[in-house]
Symmetry: C2
Subunit: 113 residues, 2 copies
DNA sequence: ACTATACTGAACTGAATGGTTCAGTATAGT
DNA sequence: ACTATACTGAACCATTCAGTTCAGTATAGT
């Protein structure tokens, strides 16, 4: 059985799998925003948006702070580092696989001659 | 309202959100495998594994070919390019935001003097 | 021809998701 | 004090998801 290490990749890739949430990240990349603002931008109820923000917060991609009655959302402190690393590593796996394939094809070509 | 462009990021990030599926990709990075092999490795029924492979296939991360009675799974032709690009772009958004923050902090420090 | 293997598909289950409404609490402004 | 704003939480709903079982079909080996 293959053992996979525990990480929050589940949470973060899960968070990124939703277009609304990717949109929220995009937005927060431009400027911080309140739940209300985000809800309006994505035509959604406050409650709905709060859930999305909750998911992003769980994944560590967003952090929020409530001052007075408004909760302001910003990009989280850690910024997709882990995800970038994972993707990059696998990018290389792909490259390796296809290089091997190339090598094999190359070999076959040689034999043809 | 914010408009977001259509893409298969939903499918691919969704596919990556599951540890079993990330494990399968990892495995296929080492060697091609049949559904049976994968099912055994991840202690799962054939049917269950076939569904996971289906999800990965939909996302274009895996491709399969059935010859005789065995279906062989390999890494898909396109390899996380789109995802890498998305992540990288947002990596930069983060950087920008935090650079701005640095700038502001720097400014505040100056005034203190 | 017979048997074992490898997959496939339909149908079912429990839990998670993405959204809603509605009733509440807390703060801001007049 | 009163009213509007901003959020919060519980409860609900339909859909999807991750997995199962079970009954099939097709191919490989003897």
């Amino acid at each position: 059985m293959v053992q996979y290490s525990i990480s929050n990749l589940d949470a973060s890739f899960g968070a990124l799998a939703d277009p609304t949430r990717r949109g929220v990240l995009e937005q927060l990349g431009q400027a911080d925003a309140s739940i209300t603002t985000l809800a309006e931008m994505f035509q959604m109820t406050l409650t709905g948006m709060k859930k999305h923000v909750g998911v992003l917060e769980q994944a560590g991609l967003v952090c929020t702070e409530k001052v007075g009655r408004v909760r302001t959302c910003k990009l989280g402190l850690r910024g997709l580092e882990e995800e970038a690393v994972w993707i990059e590593r696998h990018h290389q796996l792909w490259a390796t696989r296809f290089n091997e394939l190339d090598a094999i094809l190359e070999e076959l070509k040689q034999k043809e001659k």
